[in-house]
């Protein structure tokens, strides 16, 4: 009986003592280890499929073939050159698209009459698939940067516009009343209430936009380009070089993930500052 009590007390004590720093880290941060683990499992599965299916390199290349192809185009600088081209199209297209969308979105959010006037045109313009519009843009603006940037702008415009309208309109009416009662002017309303309140929704729109921007750049390059990762996919396809197609695809995935991660990080920092 005494043994049992001492045992129970010891267990209780163990359970109640504070976790060591090591245990703490393991509990809260260990999920980061899942990422390299998931990648390893993915590569192993991929190699298994190639072995078991006996697939030739031009149908499904093995991970090593893709690695060799990557090493080659990285070493001769061509991968970076193509990546730079695509990144340039993405960044400028995002800048133009997001700035016009947020400005227009704010105006439409404040002015219902304007929104009713423009809404049909905006919705109609977004219903046309970008793939169909791309050749037209190439005819009108040439096969250089401009047409690709316009395609990216078009594809990111609508989600950002809708999110801006929703975000601005979603500002709590009571908070507006409060600001008004404190004699806030238009500028103060904008900077101290509307922007901070709409930020979470705006960041949501931004995350969608950056993912779409990669698609827009690739669509534009498929239709007419002489550089870029979309062009590289076409070129590799024409040469039956499937490992190179994989390299280009993985590069595009990396870009999309990096952009998404950057926006998430910005969101965390900005919103933490907001709540402090």
């Amino acid at each position: 009986m005494q043994e049992m009590t001492r045992l129970a007390q010891k267990t209780r004590w163990q359970w109640q003592r504070a976790a060591t720093p090591g245990e703490n880290w393991w509990r809260t941060q260990a999920h980061i280890l899942l990422i390299p683990l998931a990648i390893t499992v993915f590569i192993v599965l991929w190699q298994a499929i190639v072995w078991l299916g006996g697939y030739p390199s031009f149908i499904l290349p093995a991970p090593m073939d893709v690695m060799h192809s990557f090493a080659r185009v990285w070493a001769d600088g061509s991968l970076w050159r193509h990546t730079q081209t695509t990144l340039r199209e993405i960044f400028v297209g995002l800048a133009v698209g997001i700035s016009t969308a947020t400005v227009l979105g704010y105006l439409l959010a404040k002015n219902r009459w304007l929104e009713r006037l423009l809404a049909p045109y905006i919705v109609a313009s977004q219903s046309v698939p970008v793939v169909a519009v791309a050749p037209l843009l190439i005819i009108w603006f040439g096969a250089g940067y401009l047409s690709k940037m316009l395609i990216v702008t078009l594809i990111v415009f609508f989600p950002m516009l809708v999110n801006t309208i929703v975000g601005i309109r979603g500002v709590d009416a009571d908070l507006r009343e409060l600001m008004r009662s404190l004699n806030a002017n238009r500028w103060q309303m904008f900077t101290k209430l509307e922007v901070p309140a709409a930020l979470p929704v705006l960041f949501g729109g931004l995350k969608v936009s950056v993912t779409l921007s990669v698609i827009g750049a690739v669509v534009g390059e498929f239709v007419g380009a002489d550089a870029g990762l979309g062009f590289l996919i076409n070129q590799a396809r024409g040469l039956f070089n499937t490992p190179l197609v994989f390299v280009a695809i993985f590069s595009l995935i990396a870009i999309a993930l990096a952009l998404h991660g950057a926006v998430s990080l910005a969101e965390t920092l900005v919103l933490r500052w907001r709540s402090n």
Binding site: P56, F58, I138, G142, G224, L239, F240
Partner: protein, 331 residues
Amino acid sequence: MKKLSIILTAFVILLAACAPKPAPTAEPVSPQTLTHIDLGVGFVPNIQFAPFYVAQAKGFYAAEGLDVSLEHGFENDFVALTAQGERQFAIASGDQVILARSQGLPVVYVMKWYEKYPVGVAALADSGIKTPTDLNGRTVGIPGRFGASFVAWKGLVYAAGVDETSINLQEIGFTQAEALNQGTVDAAVVYLANEPVQLAAEGKSVNVIQVSDYLNLVSNGIVTNEKLIAENPELVAKMVRASLKGVQYTIDHPDEAFELSRQFIPDMTDADAPTQKKVLAASIALWKSERFGVSDPQAWAASVAFMHESGLIDTDMNPDKMFTNRFVVGE
């Protein structure tokens, strides 16, 4: 009531989705004993595929126990499918076969169709561009830096004294006619049976530089994979025989071939017909040959040498395994 109407709506949508597709009207009904073949080609249904439409419509394929329909898409994908054994035959250009074999695809070119490479450079007459060297220092539009257009362009650079560094080469997609009309380019790389005919129909006077005048480049033909040749050479022989008959018949009877082909090209209107007849005539000029279907070893050697020296393939290759004439009638 609301729940019922939702369920009913979903049921109707499901029914509509399950509705059988209407049978394609252009395809003739095929008896069960014929071997069906999907021939992979590029582009869209077009009069330039007349020999195959004719061979199907006149029963040349049926006489050999075959039922052939064309499958349209990106040519390289069909070559890869044929190499893998997922398709029996595809149409491919000699340069595609060379590129494919350099990447280990076991494809073999079994029948020559085009005698002359169908790509060239077109310019409006008032541009003053008549010979390849006139292109130096000008702006040239090209659909893309890949495919037959790019190979033909490199061929002109290799064999016709074109100075690539002085030329502003722009990728314009398949908008060559508009680009030439608007003057955004001085000249454009085109398919000889397409844009020149189209521009002439618009009343424009066009100069055309043909790659085949400067370089003996192997062009379109039927390809298959090594496995089919080893396991079922009879099928390959039948396909080649019937297809060659189709080519010969089209060249000998262009008007009848045109009418027979129309059933396979539903998008061709009567207004298009006169221009499309000219497209067929321009294509026939590219198919005419002293030796139908027979691949020329010298042309293959010249093509491999050109592609290697232009950097299109990494290693020099032996063309012997890339083509065979054993299935062509009379060889």
